[in-house]
Amino acid sequence: MKNLKIIGLYTALAVLSILTLIPFFWMLAASFMADGKASTYPPTLIPNPFTFVQYEILFTRLRFATNFFNSLLLSVLVTGVSLVFNSMAGYAFAKYRFKGKGMIFNALLSALIIPSQVTMLPLFLLLKQFGFINTYMAIVIPGLANIFGIFLIRQYALSIPDSLIESARMDGATDFQIYRKVILPLATPILITLGIFTFMGTWNDFLWPLIVLTDDGMWTLPVALANLMGEHTKDPELMMAGSVLTILPVMLVFLVLQKYYMQGIMMGAVKE
């Protein structure tokens, strides 16, 4: 009876896993196929012949190397800058007393319900006035700070004992030195967590880059892929190679830093 149950459970899990992973297997396999080889019935998972020709096309005839670089640069830039902005603000909300703190913090939290699409048109006009459309600034500026990031860091900083801050102050540390030398090192786990979320969020973002990056030399990978889809619908092998390139970096980041990512989900889940 128990054995039967175990077999049933494993079967269910195995079926669900296979269904979940098939699109990835097929994507990977098709990306190594020659033109037309992915359009067969029944569909196959074995590239025959095995070829890198699709990747070659992406890098030589198309501008995927540039697009890859744009995605990487922007994701790193936004992650770096926003970690500084968010950690400073999160720390201040956790460890300083000042007038209106509760009010400001609650106003920020309530604003989390406003969908970002609401801001897109005015933001576009604003960035256009500055001449930032179709530049990296159009992605970096709206990503400078974000409410959820401030919230995460504040929650974490609350758990840092005040005595550590006080003793650093006794030793003559300035406010900024305390932030640099005491708070940031202690907050490393949450900084990593938030960093992964921001990196992946920026890498995977689509609607905003689609709006503000108009030139193929400025496109990030998702925008390049979406535009490629329009012209190369009949080239699944090429499209799959493009998808692999787009997905691979975020998958790697996730696989290496899984533990921090999962903790981040849990911290977001208990924010009520």
Binding site: S17, Y41, V118, L121, A145
Partner: protein, 294 residues
């Protein structure tokens, strides 16, 4: 002890609050203002062409069949993919939480893989999964005798196809939260039920589900908010077609605003989205409160 040094606090807060103020709060207010104007491509060239039109954009929206189509599609999408993805998340969490199962990490990882991948890229992949002639879905369905369908080319199938893909993409996220919720249920409740001779279904209904209620409310709210913002899936897989059967609110806003530059009208659409999300969240919270009072 916390410090009451307003000057330092201000210096730490200023960069982030200034950025959020200028690039988030002001645009929200500006959008509200724009939704009461006839801001269009002529205003884009010269701001003095902007005129206040009161509630005209909103009045027009209410009579715009395409707006209602987009609303209807988005609601249908949310109503189906919300509960479906939560059900799959819970099922996967229950399977993984079973003590008889080993190698949990491996299964959890494979269920989670779609969550971290780029939406645009997986939408591209799924376009071929749904291919009427060569796609994997038709191939798998052929084993149970279901004839090949043109998933994305059929007005009645295109939206369900997008629902299915979204469930696949997202269920792993809520699964993780459910697993944590399940692990927080005290074991003695189940042991007591065992002594009373309760069946597995009894235990699920009377212990697991009620104990998971707070988790479920949280998951429902966040999932629904996310699903109302549907955009990339139809943009990549169907471009809103066939015959606007997958046109979403956000895509309609995008088209009106950034393709036709009807920016006043487009901001009104964006605010309708906001109102819907806001109302949906209030309803969820009210349900939770009433349940809590009982």
């Amino acid at each position: 002890m916390a410090r009451s040094d307003a000057r330092s606090a201000f210096l730490f807060l200023f960069p982030a609050l200034a950025a959020i103020g200028v690039f988030f709060f002001i645009p929200v207010l500006a959008a509200l203002f724009m939704s009461f104007t006839d801001f269009d491509i002529y205003s884009l060239a010269d701001f003095s062409n902007v005129r206040l039109v009161g509630f005209e954009n909103y009045a027009r929206l209410l009579e715009d069949p395409l707006f209602w189509k987009a609303m209807g599609n988005t609601f249908t999408f949310v109503i189906f993919s919300g509960p479906l993805s939560i059900a799959v998340s819970l099922t996967a969490a229950l399977l993984l939480n079973n003590k008889l199962i080993k190698h949990k990490g491996m299964f959890r990882l494979s269920f989670f893989m779609p969550v971290v991948t780029t939406l645009v890229a997986v939408a591209v992949v799924w376009r071929y999964v749904y291919h009427p002639k060569f796609g994997y879905l038709n191939y798998i369905l052929s084993f149970v005798g279901i004839p090949a369908q043109d998933w994305l080319g059929d007005t009645t199938l295109a939206l369900p196809a997008i629902v299915l893909m979204s469930v696949w993409k997202n269920f792993g996220y809520n699964m993780i939260i459910f697993i944590a919720g399940l692990q927080n249920i005290p074991q003695y409740l189940y042991e007591a039920a065992d002594i009373e001779g309760a069946t597995a279904w009894d235990k699920f209904r009377n212990i697991t589900l009620p104990m998971l209620a707070p988790t479920t409310v949280f998951i429902t709210i966040t999932t629904i908010i996310g699903y109302f913002q549907l955009f990339a899936e139809p943009y990549i897989m169907t471009q809103g077609g066939p015959l606007n059967s997958t046109l979403s609110i956000v895509q309609y806003m995008y088209q009106e605003g950034f393709r036709w530059w009807n920016m006043g009208y487009s901001t009104a659409i964006a605010f309708m989205l906001f109102i819907v999300i806001f109302a949906g969240t209030l309803v969820q919270l009210a349900i939770q409160k009433r349940k809590g009072a009982m």
